[in-house]
């Protein structure tokens, strides 16, 4: 059983001790908003003394520093209706203290044996907390702005890289037109096409944004359309078809795959059809399963030794393809019977 308080005087002493013990400013008001008691913290923080506080109207305290419209709203409108209010925020410039943000908690105490009422009003100084919150909000805003600006910078860099590749390609083309040796011209044109393919791969990956994965079908279709536009003339028509399922691959692997397709398609265009044929066709296929993916580049050309020569005996294109296949951790298989078919199989990760 708790010990009972024997006398009213003792109860008042206990109440004042409780008020004084609280670290935060607290005042006790009567029904007419005059101060009945105040905590030590109240006197210290708001720099007022008990003589000019006790019995005074709250709004007259400290040369009227508590005559705040928001506080009047709380005490005269909200508390009479609700009897309690927590976390009522007041931002005010207190004379001698400075601008402070206070959280006010108020309770109206109604007695059973009396018509009088008492209001307990506690203050929590959240000025420092609000400053930290503002700093954090600023930091977050600036960080978001930084990310936006990085994206702008990245896009500009990608545009400039693409422009550089176009310039390199145009220089190679200018040189190809200028040289007299047919072999040198072909090499320069190959180099020109390779640079254009790298540019196309880069442009496609750029257009894919920040995606880690890209859809293979549209990617290969766009790449092959670019190859066909620059390498297949109207007088020497070869159909270049892409048949791909809805598979996706990592953007890092997509670069290697694009360059492999470029080399194999260039090879087929150059060697598979030594004479003009109406049904000349190169097919680029992509199939993905749970076991991995399969990339095929095949043609219905002459096949046999003639087409396989560059791939069997090596050349720059072959070296590039072999290096890229190795980079992908994939396996390449070449079949040269009816036409030529190169399969690159990549196991699932």
């Amino acid at each position: 059983m708790p010990t009972t308080i024997p006398a009213i005087e003792d109860a008042q002493t206990l109440a004042q001790a409780i008020v004084d013990t609280i670290h935060e400013p607290l005042i006790v008001l009567d029904g007419g908003l005059r101060v009945l008691a105040a905590s030590r913290a109240f006197y210290e923080i708001f720099r007022v003394d008990s003589e000019r506080t006790m019995g005074c109207l709250l709004y007259d305290l400290g040369d009227g520093q508590w005559n705040i419209p928001a506080l009047r709203l709380l005490l005269e409108t909200i508390i009479p209706e609700k009897t309690a209010m927590d976390g009522f925020e007041v931002d005010h410039d207190f004379p001698g203290v400075g601008r402070r943000t206070m959280l006010l908690n108020a309770r109206k105490v109604i007695y059973e044996t009396s018509a009088d009422s008492t209001i307990l009003l506690a203050f929590t100084d959240i000025t420092a907390r609000r400053a930290v919150e503002r700093n954090l909000a600023d930091l977050l805003e600036h960080t978001e702005e930084l990310l936006r600006q990085k994206q702008v910078l990245l896009q500009e860099m990608q545009h400039r890289v693409a422009n550089s590749l176009q310039i390199i390609a145009s220089i190679l083309l200018i040189k190809a037109r200028a040289v007299t040796s047919e072999e040198t011209r072909l090499h320069l044109k190959d180099a020109h096409q390779r640079v254009l393919s790298v540019a196309e791969v880069q442009a496609h990956l750029h257009a894919s944004g920040d995606l880690d994965q890209i859809e293979v079908g549209p990617y290969l279709s766009k790449l092959c359309a670019s190859l066909a536009a620059s390498m297949i003339g109207d007088s020497y028509p070869i159909a270049l078809d892409v048949e791909a399922d809805h598979g996706w691959i990592g953007s890092d692997k997509a670069v290697s795959m694009g360059l492999i397709v470029t080399e194999l398609v260039i090879n087929a265009i150059k060697y598979a059809f030594p004479t003009t044929r109406a049904d000349a066709r190169i097919r680029v296929g992509f199939d993905s399963t749970d076991a991995g993916w399969l990339l095929t580049v095949s043609d219905n050309g002459v096949g046999g030794v003639e087409t396989a020569v560059p791939l069997v005996h090596g050349g720059l294109g072959t070296a590039i393809v072999e290096a890229l296949v190795k980079q992908l951790d994939a396996r390449m298989q070449v079949q040269s019977a009816e036409g030529m078919a190169v399969s690159i199989r990549h196991p699932a990760a």
Binding site: E145, Q149, L153, M157, H159, S164, S170
Partner: protein, 71 residues
């Protein structure tokens, strides 16, 4: 694509952000971004000069600015 002067304007803007931010990490990031924009301005300068030279078929004019920008 931005011109060289537009890239320099972006660099100045990043410098402004660096001066504004007190947080060291953010300040360093803005400074690096400003540096990148200045690099892009140099790149834009020679690329635009190349385009102008190429359009006038004066490729010899291209080579010197390109070499200078690389160094």
């Amino acid at each position: 694509m931005r011109t060289a002067s537009e890239c320099m304007a972006m660099a100045a803007r990043m410098d402004g952000y660096a001066a504004r931010d007190i947080e060291p990490r953010l300040r360093a990031e803005w400074t690096i971004m400003a540096s990148h924009w200045r690099g892009l301005a140099r790149q834009a300068d020679w690329q635009d000069r190349y385009a102008a030279s190429a359009s006038q078929s004066r490729l010899s004019d291209l080579l010197l600015p390109m070499a200078a920008s690389v160094s």
